[in-house]
Symmetry: C2
Subunit: 324 residues, 2 copies
């Protein structure tokens, strides 16, 4: 926890308020639901998104009475999308623990996700800020569209890097953007700062997802907390595999061969993973993440030079350095 | 459509505005999503819930600029829950048409439902009314809990009528209540009228669901638009089967025998359906629906005696008379 103390800088102490609010989300009357909420909200994630909300809100009127419900709402919404993702992917583990669908089956997990979407909407409504309530709803629309694009484009080698970028913008970056922009809005920050923080969150989210997709190829399974090489196995083309497809459009491309394979799929998967790990596509993907990270850092320029700004810059470094 | 013209009374013409707003919900950029939205929102339902919102809003300041987004939001939320239900139940038909999951598969249907939840939240935010936004979010929390209770209690003959009533209160009546209460709130009606309309919507919703559950046993499949006897087949105990269980707690009870059956399940299902259809449990369930209907009618007493009130009373009659 030492790393996190410095990671979230001046808002580290107030993250305790977010955890307490998350505990209250888990306190429902119906015992099976309480058990499921305990499981998915107790799986201590990094809580990056709510921390960003608090940090973004610290440049103007820092009021925990509105910032904490908003930050909590963002984390609940994020976790709800993970619950539905894991149902769809039939994922068995996440963050090193069994997924909700593995423990409680698919049907209850779909309704668990629905409940959490609703609860996150209830939390954001407590801010009393219509602009941020609408931003929140529009963000979930973008996220669901991004998830849908990912699912529908699976196993389709004709997809391009531009499709990938549009998809992760919806699926991931839109929520980072809303976390950051929302904090700025409820703090009453001037429009220029709101725009700067939206751009920061969006670019950080893009860098985060590109790095996440690289880690799926490179990370140690025990550190990752889920099986490595999973994206390609599921037919999800991410930046490294798309770069490999772009480099060699022949039928001999190992990713193309994997998607075309009727037999020996495990062997074809191993060949494709090896090709990606041994080629230059991973460092090239990383450079793309670094470009997004640079944009995130630069977007903070209009903001006052505070410890919160330093913490937001530190989060950019963290996203590039993390190993899971 | 002649019946509907009189059914919705003074707000019939404004329902065109709700349909137009639903058309705008379908107008999204991503073609696969647009196609799915066209399918599920185009399946012309009865639109009872949005009509109730407009009728409830007509007792005070009737402003279509807030009532139409709210009414549309209610219908989109309702349809989203049907989309997720059909995924969970693996249902093939609904309202006489193929379900989203049958046409587009499970994964896209889960994200379609998520998108629609988000869009309904966006629509309700357009009212600018924090109270109604929170009511809306809390309603979805109740609905998801009710759906979860239904799923978790499937095939459990120890469940009681009180469990059933709590479950349909969450799953169905809470949305009718929100449709009615929400219309009253945004119209600026006095608290007494708001409470009366909430009670009306809740009781109407209870009557509606009890009748719906009776129709699952009695209706002609071609009229119902989905297979008859489906609830029991899925292990869902509704009022008629719970009454039969209450009457005879022995192991010879045909519902108990069905749930215990390892073989000959089709035959056991037929026996249970026949037992329910030939006993007095269907008329007894109907009397329960009539009691809820009577409460709904009585709850309108504090409201002015307008054509809208007559239309709300007419909806109660319709719920008891409908054959699908």
């Amino acid at each position: 926890m030492v790393a996190q103390t410095s990671l979230f800088g001046p808002v580290q102490d107030d993250m305790v308020l977010v955890e307490a609010a998350l505990d209250r989300v888990r306190a429902v009357e119906y015992p099976p639901l309480a058990k499921m909420l305990d499981h998915v909200l107790g799986a201590s994630g990094k809580r990056m998104r709510p921390a960003i909300t608090l940090l973004a809100g610290s440049f103007h009127t820092y009021d925990v009475a509105v910032l904490v419900p908003l930050a909590t709402s963002i984390e609940v919404l994020h976790t709800a999308t993970l619950v539905h993702d894991d149902v769809i992917d039939q994922a068995g583990t996440r963050r090193g623990r069994a997924t909700a669908n593995a423990l409680f089956n698919n049907a209850p997990s779909v309704f668990l996700g629905d409940f959490m979407f609703a609860h996150s909407a209830e939390l954001v409504a407590r801010t009393g800020n219509i602009r941020v309530i609408r931003l929140f709803a529009q963000t979930l629309m973008r996220m669901a569209t991004g998830e849908l694009q990912q699912d529908i484009s699976a196993y389709d080698p004709s997809k391009r890097i531009s499709d990938y970028l549009a998809r992760i913008a919806g699926k991931t970056a839109s929520l980072f953007a809303a976390a950051s922009e929302g904090g700025a809005i409820v703090s009453g920050a001037p429009e220029e700062w709101i725009g700067a923080l939206r751009e920061y969150g969006f670019s950080l989210g893009m860098a985060f997802q590109v790095m996440d997709d690289i880690l799926d190829f490179t990370a140690d399974e025990s550190v990752l907390g889920k099986p490595a090489g999973n994206d390609l196995k599921e037919g999800t083309l991410t930046l490294p595999s798309l770069l490999l497809l772009e480099d060699d459009s022949s039928a001999r491309n190992p990713v193309r061969r994997l998607f075309a394979a009727r037999r020996n799929r495990d062997q074809r998967l191993d060949e494709a993973l090896t090709a990606i790990r041994e080629s230059d596509v991973l460092p090239r993907a990383r450079r793309r993440a670094e470009e997004f990270a640079a944009t995130a850092r630069a977007s903070l320029a209009p903001l006052p030079d505070t410890v919160a700004r330093a913490a937001l810059t530190g989060l950019v470094d963290y996203v590039l350095e993390r190993d899971h």
